[in-house]
């Protein structure tokens, strides 16, 4: 009897010891994301933890504006997040240049990310190496209120001129045609993303955005000013509500889904927001129309992925890349579609799913597009983007002409060119 007791006690101790050892091996991943998608991340993290008991994940979320500071400060600190949300292009390349981002090329090969939606990996690729994993594709469309369009007998505009006359006729009836809130500045630069592409042309913007032209040729194409003028034309035609620079994007959205505006230019992330505010099926979407006389390919749309980067200082790089690999797999991607109404980057995810009509329309339209242009604020260096966002506010306020605005943008571009040594 005594012996049995001894043995069981030893066994118990041994088991306990094993548990302690296991607990010590457990690695903790910190993941930073934006607030609006945080619930989804928490669910996927829980699934991943279940499959990998040795990893525990903490998801922290930040509102859009706060994130911009938090991520700079966080990545530079001694306890950076292991995995963090970041926009593609310059936003993520900045961390690459500062040695703060982990090279994910090997992880990408292992996880087969080359099968993800075309162009999404490219937006995180610098000098042939991959620095981020896209998890969703985003674009920006006009959302229109079906009821208002039907009651006012308005057709979906297919050209920029058509859009302006639609604005005029809606305005004449006392309806706000397009709700637009630019207090946080990024909605304005999203407009310029598509306007620059359509008016200035693809080759020209590709060269200028990457600062390749010689100093005396940089951002000198007068078409940039014409593109800004188009935004001003929309304002002059009465497309927008008053006081665009003092309305927040959230208020602009709320104005649309409470039925007080006929249209709004909103990202694909707005699909989920419309639904959760009881506006499901009450709206349709259409692409930014072609611009007569524009030098760009008029079949292009805005699109760019949103993805995750891994900190170069992360102590759990293996767990982090395993998490990313899981994140890009079919199951979490399908959940992304069904729960947040966003576009997955894994083409396998939509198979057999019943899609929200608006999301289906977006995916179909993106498929028909002849090409895409990356968000302007992601495509250019942060100093240029900051200046661009300011001058758009100035143009909308009427305090600068498009020509004056482009002088400032060119100056900022020259500074960036020198800084980056291009």
């Amino acid at each position: 009897m005594k012996k049995v007791l001894m043995v069981s006690a030893t066994l118990a101790l041994a088991t306990f010891g094993a548990f302690v050892a296991l607990a010590q091996q457990k690695s903790t991943l910190t993941v930073w994301v934006l607030t609006d998608i945080a619930p989804y991340f928490k669910e996927v993290a829980a699934e991943f933890e279940k499959a990998n008991p040795d990893v525990s994940i903490t998801v922290r979320d930040y509102a859009n504006e706060a994130y911009k500071t938090a991520i700079q400060v966080g990545v530079a600190s001694n306890q950076p997040p292991d995995v963090f949300y970041n926009d593609p292009g310059e936003a993520s390349f900045k961390f690459v240049r500062d040695g703060q981002a982990m090279d994910l090329t090997a992880a990408a090969k292992k996880a087969g990310w080359d099968k993800l939606l075309k162009g999404t990996i490219a937006a995180y690729t610098l000098d042939g190496k991959i620095w981020g994993m896209p998890y969703t594709q985003q674009s920006k469309y006009y959302y229109y209120n079906k009821e208002i369009f039907a009651n006012q007998n308005v057709k979906i505009p297919t050209s920029f001129k058509g859009l302006l006359s639609t604005c005029k006729s809606l305005k004449a009836k006392g309806i706000t045609p397009i709700s637009f809130g630019n207090s946080e500045r990024w909605p304005g630069i999203h407009y310029m993303t598509i306007l620059n592409q359509k008016v200035v042309g693809d080759a020209q913007i590709a060269a200028d955005y990457s600062l390749k032209p010689a100093e005396d040729k940089l951002f000198t194409d007068p078409a940039y000013a014409s593109a800004l003028q188009k935004l001003k034309d929309m304002q002059d035609a009465g497309c927008f509500n008053n006081a665009v620079n003092s309305v927040s994007p959230e208020i602009a959205r709320a104005t649309f889904y409470s039925g007080k505006a006929a249209m709004t230019f909103c990202g694909t992330w707005c699909l989920g927001i419309m639904d959760s505010n009881g506006f499901k099926n009450k709206y349709g979407i259409f692409r930014f129309p072609r611009i007569e006389g524009g030098k760009g390919n008029q079949g292009y749309v805005i699109s760019g992925p949103t993805g995750l980067q891994v900190s170069a200082k992360s102590k759990n790089k293996d767990a982090a890349t395993a998490f990313l690999a899981y994140f890009s797999s079919v199951k979490p991607q399908a959940r992304l579609v069904s729960e947040t109404n966003r576009i997955p980057v894994n083409p396998g995810a939509v198979k057999g799913l019943e899609l929200d009509p608006a999301l289906a329309a977006v995916i179909a339209d993106l498929g028909k597009a002849s090409g895409s242009t990356l968000w302007l604020d992601s495509a250019v260096e942060s100093g240029i983007s900051d200046t661009y966002q300011n001058v758009i506010q100035e143009v909308l306020n009427g305090t600068q002409t498009p020509q004056q605005a482009m002088v400032s943008v060119r100056e900022a571009a020259l500074v960036s060119k020198k800084k980056l040594g291009r």
């Binding site: 922290r60 500071t69 409470s258």
Partner: protein, 271 residues
């Protein structure tokens, strides 16, 4: 000489001014009890139903946590400021020693130094010390920046302090520490409470340092928490306003209760 009676005019202007002061508070309270659609359709009417659930939701989403953080940071900082500044001011006011004048001037020039000017190195310093995202990283600078003003207030308080009491205590055989703890501190309560109230209000409301030094949501203080809410619930005004109301009420009530002390504490400033 005839006097024109200005009194009614003055009263009328005062009432107008007080109304302007009061209206935002009332609007805050009324709006925090509405629903979002109500806010958009009829911003100025009284709420159809009192939505107390806004308060419950705000409390659960984070206000409770932020409130506790603010309370902890404020109380610890204020106690530390009282001890540190009290000792320093007493030494400066009561004894002679080489370098005294220099130290005094050095300490009080701190008041002219805005926190902004040390933001960058403070961040870098705390980063190297691994003290970002910690209470102590926040409390340290709060205490340091509280010293100049507090020393200034307490110094002038101690100068007016009757020396006879201390002399008597010394004759009774008290050593310096006993003297401080048993005689000086209790009699300095008005001065110390001035400092406590002043620094308490400042630290309770401080935003810039918290914004830079804290990124963990669990450690955010109230002002920072409110700004995060503002980003998160930008279109949900009632919830946001319920949070603002809840963040404001405790200190407002405290103020109403301690009105006299508040005002007296400021009197010390202008003396």
């Amino acid at each position: 000489m005839r006097r024109i009676n200005f009194r009614p005019l003055v009263y009328a202007l005062l009432v107008v001014y007080l109304t302007i002061m009061l209206l935002p508070f009332l609007w805050l309270l009324v709006s925090s009890l509405k629903t979002t659609p109500e806010m958009f359709s009829s911003p100025f009417s009284l709420p159809a139903v009192l939505r107390l659930s806004n308060f419950v939701e705000a409390w659960q989403t984070g206000v409770a946590k932020y409130l506790l953080n603010s309370l902890l940071v404020t109380v610890v900082s204020v106690v530390a400021i009282l001890v540190v500044s009290g000792l320093a001011a007493y030494a400066l006011a009561r004894s002679q020693f080489p370098g005294r004048n220099g130290f005094y001037v050095l300490l009080i020039t701190g008041y002219a130094i805005p926190i902004h000017t040390v933001l960058v190195p403070l961040y870098e310093m705390l980063r190297s010390a691994q003290a970002l995202n910690s209470y102590i990283g926040l409390i340290g600078p709060y205490v340091a920046f509280g010293i100049p003003f507090s020393v200034l207030l307490l110094y002038s308080f101690f100068l007016d302090f009757p020396k006879e009491l201390e002399e008597a205590a010394r004759l009774d055989g008290c050593n310096e520490l006993q003297l401080l703890a048993r005689i000086v501190a209790p009699l300095s309560l008005p001065g110390l409470s001035s400092v406590a109230i002043f620094q308490g209000v400042f630290i309770w409301n401080e935003f810039l340092l918290a914004l830079i030094l804290i990124s963990d949501d669990a450690l955010k203080t109230l002002p920072f928490g409110l700004v995060s809410f503002q980003g998160q619930y930008a279109a949900n005004w009632p919830l946001l306003l319920a949070s603002v109301t809840m963040a404001t009420l405790p200190i407002l009530l405290l103020y109403v209760v301690l009105q006299r002390q508040f005002v007296n504490s400021l009197a010390g400033l202008g003396k």
